[in-house]
Amino acid sequence: MSVIELNNLHYHVDDADQRLHIVRGCDLTVNQNESVAIVGRSGSGKSTLLSLMSGLLMPTSGEIKLLGQSLTDLNEDQRAELRAGQIGFVFQDFQLMPAMTALENVMMPMELFDIPNARARALDSLGSLGLAERLNHLPHQLSGGEQQRVAIARAWVLNPKLIFADEPTGNLDQHNAQAIQTRLLDIPRQQEASLVVVTHDPEFAARCDRTLELIDGQLVETQR
């Protein structure tokens, strides 16, 4: 069963004097429990493609089906509703709320969407990521690796069907990066979820089920 389907996806932006084609006719299917890495040169449009897949950005043309629903048929709020609770995000710069503790950051999406047992689930999630001792610490009191683990806990806690990770290890040292990669790759294996990760790290990409390279706006499957 597919969780993402891209059909002939196009996206361009009009610059001052030229049209920049960032995505040109991409086709892709991501299946349940699959981990997919998207690689490419800087500025090739990887993050834009991730935004298109997650419904944060609408394509110029083509079709995106996310969790079986065509995103082009949905308005902003409906797309937000689709993301809520079903899709998790992990970012390069963690994106934690600075005034909230680790526990509060993980509870935040559940409280926002009125999901019961928020505290217990957040405690469980953070504990499983080895952060049981850091629950009441604010983001600036945590190391980069710990912050990213909190971000993963936040993405994971809702048992999403799909996790998007944009350069999740880009700001981490090698030791922490490997630990985070392992945690992320555990998700499709341990729960019914898929992982789409944008990365520059060939090692991380190699650990995923599939690797796709974005070249001139088109996705090319990398042979292993």
Partner: protein, 807 residues
């Protein structure tokens, strides 16, 4: 050069536009407010000048010395002199007491023959060139002249007539014992008159201060107080505008310096020297300030030009002038304000850049405190420049207190919100977290918004109190006519006549008299205070006789005393009691038409002299004693259309009575008060507009952090209504906290300023406080909602691009 090139490129890209806008606003407001203030004062003194027939008038009951005239001439003033006396004119077979003014050749009008006020002709059925009898001489009435207004309501009851020295001399009216008032009128520009006033004080020409000096700004007690209060309020408004701009600069300069931080850090990393870094920063800020201030001055002048018609509609006709010196002053004051409010932030950033410490920019708590301290210092400087020390010191003192209170409150609120956050869920929790996200910015917002609301509320309270004080001093039903010199036998018929035609009538019996002894000791005039004290003691006063004290004089103190058999109770006006050193229980001896009357003070009264009601320094609590030779005095409100017919009817009953219609004088005072009130409104709304822009700047300054959170929430699946709810909740909390504290501090400050500076009783009540808290909340919430709505509706990706664009 790097600084200039950078500045040029940054300007083209729109960088620094926010600080540019704030500086522009500061100089714009200063210029516009300064222009309005300067011209509003011109407008308000315009009528005074018309009334005074000169810039300064000095009056005395004896000839004024040549040394005074020389002093005026030496200061470049034009000098004219008059002598006035009261005399009878024979007009068409009837006699009329008039105020006859004899003018010298330099006076504003030069009558040939006799000039009179127009109503003299109509009242006596005369035409121009008809003759009037003065003593044994008949002079033609060659023209009429209207006084633009009265310079003193109570001395201008008599119709006026003018004559030249040449025509007056042969009449032989002046002899030993004649009572004359000598006046000197001086004309010149502002600098000359100010220099003269200083020179006059220093010359000690009037050691006993017996001369009455009237300037355009001290025309009458009412008008003078009104002008003085208006001037103080305008000063306050100018200072408020500058303070508001300063707080705005504090926010905008921080934001701008933070934006430049990374580029300058890079420059330093590439080897830029300390001097080069400082030079780039100073050049950027200096050019930004200079260009924005110049533009602000220019726009301020244009705005003033555009508002001239409205201003003239509000303030009445006046000769407007563009004061470019005020423009220069605005630029200098803007620079001082920028230096004060931005310097701490500047030094903090500079230090961090020179150390190449990228984390330093995150810890600016100390710089907030330093910025405020430096800002207050610069405010102290500009306050002394702009306003009188009497107003500057309390304002700056109050500002320091307010800033400390707000800073403490902001800190306490942060702590309280941190505790509260753990107990909240969903949107309230997010809203609180949002406020806590940037602790420094939250502190600045509370301090800036609270201070602005405080200043606005204080202006509003003072303005309302001032206006109501003025309205109370001349209520709608204030009497507009006086009737004096009615003989006791005529009074019953006069009362019947008045009861039929007028309203709000008061009639009292009065006798001319003088205080001669206090507790059996002769009144020592020389021991009394110079000026008013000695003048009042020397002259005869109207002393009333009545069995019940008037309702419109509140009793301040009473004392029951056993009276001697020949003693009468006397009630004394509090002011004159203080002036003469009189107290309850003192025995006063009056000389009333040759009778020595013993009295004892049994009460002290407050008198509102501006009310125009019949008021007396001394009231004998006794039935009317005809032996003392009393006459009756009345005042009342008469319809303008009935005034003439009433006067004729009164004349037929009491030929010796004098009727004075003071409607015109009341209108003059009311006009000036109305203009002053309008000027206050203009100033208040200008400060309000400036404040609204500052609220925008505070919202703008924290926008980036807010967008960042929204982007995250939207990405995680929050809907537009969730984000909107979060934003509204956040600003309602911010508005409420700022509003409550600002209202309480503003109320207490307004009371203090009203009491000590404007000498008015502030109106303390809960409703306006609640209204202001509501206003503050709605202002901050409403402006935020308007300002942020477009960002709320953006898709996550568009919001992300907006955040990147704001870096």
């Amino acid at each position: 050069m790097i600084g200039i090139r950078w500045f040029y490129r940054a300007l083209r890209q729109g960088e620094g536009r926010w600080l540019f806008l704030v500086l522009l606003l500061a100089s714009f407001s200063l210029t516009l407010v300064g222009q309005i203030k300067s011209n509003a004062l011109s407008a308000m003194t315009y009528k005074s000048e018309q009334c005074l027939m000169g810039d300064i008038r000095i009056q005395h009951t004896r000839p004024l010395p040549q040394s005074l005239l020389d002093l005026a001439s030496n200061n470049g003033l034009k000098v004219a002199q008059t002598r006035s006396t009261q005399t009878m004119l024979q007009l068409n077979g009837q006699f009329q007491l008039v105020q006859l003014t004899v003018v010298d050749k330099n006076f504003l009008i030069q009558p040939q023959g006799l000039w009179v006020e127009p109503n003299v002709l109509s009242d006596f059925g005369l035409q121009l060139n008809d003759r009037a009898g003065i003593g044994r001489t008949q002079l033609p009435i060659t023209n009429t002249h209207s006084l633009a207004c009265s310079t003193n309501i109570f001395s201008s009851f008599l119709p006026n007539a003018w004559i030249t020295e040449a025509d007056f001399q042969p009449l032989g009216l002046i002899s030993a014992g004649s009572r004359l008032t000598y006046s000197v009128y001086l004309q010149g520009d502002r600098k000359q008159t100010e220099a003269f006033e200083i020179a006059l004080k220093e010359s000690n020409l009037d050691p006993n201060q017996l001369w009455t000096l009237t300037t355009k700004s001290t025309l009458t007690q009412d008008v003078s107080q009104t002008l003085q209060n208006t001037l103080s309020f305008l000063d306050l408004a100018v200072l408020t505008t500058l303070l508001i701009s300063g707080l705005s600069i504090l926010i905008a300069a921080r934001v701008q310096l933070t934006r430049w931080f990374e580029s300058l850090l890079l420059m330093r990393a590439m080897g830029a020297s300390k001097r080069q870094i400082s030079s780039v920063l100073v050049t950027q800020l200096g050019l930004l300030c200079l260009i924005s201030s110049l533009l602000g001055v220019f726009l301020g002048m244009i705005a003033f030009g555009l508002s001239l018609d409205t201003l003239k509609g509000l303030l009445g006709p006046f000769e407007h002038e563009y004061r470019w010196d005020l423009g220069l002053q605005s630029i200098v004051l803007t620079l001082i304000t920028l230096t004060g409010f931005a310097s701490a932030s500047y030094f903090q950033h500079r230090k961090a850049i020179l150390k190449g410490h990228p984390q330093q920019k995150a810890t600016f708590s100390n710089s907030v405190i330093m910025s405020l301290a430096m800002g207050v210092l610069s405010m102290g400087l500009v306050s002394l420049w702009l306003v009188s020390p009497k107003l500057a010191f309390p304002i700056v003192g109050a500002l320091v207190c307010v800033l400390i209170i707000f800073a403490t409150l902001a800190q306490l609120t942060l702590l309280a919100l941190s505790k509260l956050k753990t107990k909240l869920t969903r949107l309230p929790k997010l809203a609180v977290a949002q406020l806590l996200n940037q602790g420094d910015l939250f502190r600045i917002q509370i301090i800036a918004l609270g201070s602005i609301l405080f200043l606005l509320m204080m202006l509003s309270f003072i303005k309302n109190d001032l206006v109501s004080a003025w309205q109370n001093s001349l209520p709608e039903n204030a009497p507009n006519a006086f009737l004096i010199n009615v003989q006791p036998f005529e009074q019953p018929e006069i009362e019947t006549l008045l009861n039929a035609q007028v309203s709000d009538r008061i009639s009292d019996a009065v006798v001319r008299g003088r205080l001669t002894h206090v507790n059996q000791i002769p009144l020592d005039i020389q021991s009394l205070p110079l000026g008013r004290g000695q003048r009042l003691a020397k002259r005869e006063a109207n002393i009333a006789m009545m069995t019940e004290l008037p309702n419109h004089n509140p009793i301040l103190a009473t004392q029951k005393t056993q009276l001697e058999p020949d003693e009468i109770e006397v009630s004394v006006e509090q002011g004159i009691a203080e002036l003469f050193g009189l107290k309850l229980g003192d025995q006063l001896t009056f000389s009333l038409n040759g009778f020595d009357v013993q009295t004892r003070i049994t009460s002290l009264r407050a008198v509102q002299w501006q009310s125009l009601k019949l008021n007396f320094f001394f009231i004998l609590k006794t039935p009317v004693n005809v032996d003392y030779g009393p006459t009756y005095m009345s005042n009342f409100k008469v319809d303008e259309t009935q005034s003439r017919s009433l006067q004729k009817a009164i004349k037929s009953v009491s030929p010796g009575a004098l009727f004075f219609d003071v409607s015109a004088q009341i209108k003059q005072v009311k006009d000036i008060m109305q203009q002053a009130s309008d000027a206050l409104s203009v100033m208040f709304y200008l400060a309000l507009i400036a404040s609204i822009l500052v609220v925008f700047s505070a919202i703008e300054a924290s926008s980036r952090a807010r967008w960042q959170s929204w982007w995250l929430l939207k990405t995680l699946g929050a809907k537009i209504k969730d984000i909107r709810g979060l934003a509204h909740l956040e600003f309602i909390v911010l508005g409420l906290i700022s509003g409550i504290v600002a209202a309480l501090i503003a109320l207490s400050s307004a009371w203090a300023i009203g009491h000590w500076v404007f000498d008015i009783k502030a109106n303390l009540s809960l409703i306006p406080v609640l209204m202001h808290i509501g206003f503050a909340t709605v202002l901050i919430w409403g402006l935020s909602a308007i300002h942020l709505e477009s960002a709320i509706r953006l898709s996550p990706k568009e919001l992300e691009q907006k955040i990147k664009g704001s870096r």
